[in-house]
């Protein structure tokens, strides 16, 4: 009996300590700031794509007017009853263009890190509004982009690589420019990491539900589509073994990523492989925005030091601590 009680105590203590070490740690905000820059830029591209024939699609007499969209959603089952969008309330071309312009400005401000605390929340509202304006047209990117922008609302992601940081640097003296580590940044990074891994697992498992992925032909069927690929790779018909291998490697990579990305030694390898994986899949499927986003999210696994080594000059480091701060003062 004692053995069981000891095991239970040991189990709960270990889980509790691991949970706290995973979630409740303060980290530097460089990584999350870089993520804001990348995710914000992709959100801006996503919103800009709505500019193409905006009124032909979404005005009152457009292909998918608000009233038509809402009536279509209400005829589907009850699972589809929770959509919302600011764009449901604008119908004339002028109103549409005004709201769309505000949306672009807000998302752009978030991407460059201007008033980030406020624009991050506003950017999420606009990105979700675009995504839910016509849910029947939503593709692969929306279910990943919206949560990522939402997670970034919880972190001080405007501390670096931002207009906010530049303005702050102009106002303050060098010695005062200490940027504190943040618990919100850690929670945001962990949420993005876990969400990304769950997404990879879902993508791999759903592929295994189809015989074409087991049979090795899926990549050929994607390559051979007549309208969606960005490049014509149909010459690979003469190399079927290569196509079959590619198919199996796609599934293998997506199965391995959510497990091995947590192992430090495999991380650089997986990130390099993910670049090859998503560039090739984007070219074949035409889903380039989704490929771009999922590649950008790899940054969530970068340490602040790694980000710093790439993006900042060491002698102009903004976080000045201890002796260096005294000397600078």
């Amino acid at each position: 009996m004692n053995m069981i009680r000891n095991y239970y105590q040991d189990l709960t203590q270990t889980v509790s300590k691991s949970w706290e070490a995973f979630w409740f740690v303060r980290v530097e905000t460089k990584t999350v700031s870089l993520l804001r820059l990348l995710v914000g830029s992709i959100a801006l591209i996503y919103a800009l794509l709505f500019t193409i024939q905006l009124t032909d699609w979404y005005a009152a007499d457009g292909i998918l007017s608000s009233s038509f969209t809402i009536s279509m959603l209400s005829t589907e089952d009850n699972n589809y009853a929770y959509y919302w969008s600011l764009l449901y309330y604008v119908n004339t071309p002028v109103e549409l263009w005004i709201l769309h312009s505000i949306g672009l400005l807000v998302i752009g401000a978030f991407a460059v890190g201007f008033q980030t605390r406020y624009t991050s929340i506003a950017a999420f509202i606009f990105v979700a509004s675009y995504a839910q304006r016509a849910p029947m047209l939503a593709g692969l990117i929306e279910p990943l982009l919206c949560p990522m922008v939402l997670y970034l609302c919880f972190a001080p992601c405007g501390n670096y690589f931002s207009v906010d940081a530049w303005l702050r640097a102009k106002k303050q003296k060098l010695a005062d420019r200490k940027v504190e580590d943040s618990l919100g940044a850690n929670i945001t990074l962990r949420l993005i990491q876990v969400h990304l891994c769950m997404f990879y697992a879902m993508m791999a498992l759903t592929k295994l539900g189809g015989y074409t992925w087991w049979g090795g032909e899926s990549m050929w069927w994607l390559i051979a589509q007549n309208h969606s690929p960005l490049v014509d790779l149909r010459f690979l018909r003469d190399a079927p073994l290569f196509v079959f291998s590619w198919t199996h490697l796609v599934v293998l990579f997506e199965l391995c990523f959510p497990l091995l990305i947590w192992v430090k030694v495999f991380r650089p390898l997986l990130i390099v492989l993910s670049i090859l994986h998503w560039i090739s899949l984007s070219l074949v499927t035409g889903n380039w925005e989704f490929g771009l986003l999922i590649l950008a999210l790899n940054v969530a696994f970068f340490s602040p030091e790694f980000v710093q080594s790439f993006l900042a000059k060491p002698e102009k480091s903004e976080t000045i601590k201890g002796k260096d701060a005294t000397q600078a003062a």
Partner: protein
């Protein structure tokens, strides 16, 4: 590239009550996320979802859908051999006053310069083709087709046309024809499957009207004896 704490003493940065509340919220969020993602897995014969998963899925969508976390019906499998996995396009035959086809516009195709965003048109075509295959949603197909058909007629300044929803089947990797050669023309008629076909026109009061053309199975047999 390891995500390490910058200072291990920072673990105790907030009180235990706040940590407990945040932990609870995180746990709820992750449980909902895992149900929403695992409940959306699909195979060639439909969704793989148990009864309990389906019930939880419906409940958790109250949280997941407004935040756009729901991945239902999104083809993350990319290709599974389903009839609608291939590229779908919308063809609109523009008719002149004699009822002859003057031009055919292929919306969503690689040559489409009218709709702006070709992928949106392919998604609309997928919605129409999906609706046609499901008796519960079949009535939605002409509503989408009417809007798209009206858009093309107005853009082209034409009064009458025929809209068709087509699958453009890709070439098989190992296809060999009966004469031993491989079929190389992906635009041959044999590679197009029609899911839906309807006449569309602009009436005298300026409204767009649509009338579905009967499929082969719906045409009454002719009386050959008369």
């Amino acid at each position: 590239m390891n995500q390490q704490p910058t200072d291990s003493e920072n673990i105790a940065g907030i009180g235990s009550t706040a940590r407990s509340i945040i932990s609870l919220l995180l746990a709820i969020h992750l449980i909902i996320l895992s149900v929403l993602l695992s409940g959306s897995l699909v195979g060639v014969d439909g969704e793989y979802r148990s009864e309990i998963q389906a019930r939880l899925f419906g409940l958790f969508n109250v949280y997941g859908q407004p935040l756009q976390m729901d991945v239902t019906a999104k083809p993350y499998y990319l290709y599974q051999g389903n009839p609608l996995d291939d590229d779908l396009i919308l063809a609109v035959d523009l008719l002149d006053e004699d009822g002859e086809v003057s031009e055919t516009v292929l919306l969503g195709s690689a040559e489409d310069n009218l709709s702006g965003d070709r992928r949106k048109m392919r998604l609309i075509a997928r919605v129409i083709a999906s609706a046609i295959r499901n008796p519960d949603y079949e009535a939605m197909a002409p509503l989408y087709a009417k809007n798209v058909g009206g858009f093309v007629l107005k853009k082209k300044g034409v009064k009458r046309g025929v809209i068709r929803c087509l699958t453009h089947d890709p070439l098989r990797i190992n296809f060999v024809s009966s004469d031993g050669t491989t079929e190389e023309d992906p635009y041959a008629d044999v590679y197009f499957t029609t899911h839906y076909e309807a006449d569309v026109w602009i009436s005298e009061n300026g409204k767009v009207e649509i009338l579905k053309r009967a499929s082969q199975s719906q045409v009454a047999p002719t009386d050959e004896g008369s």
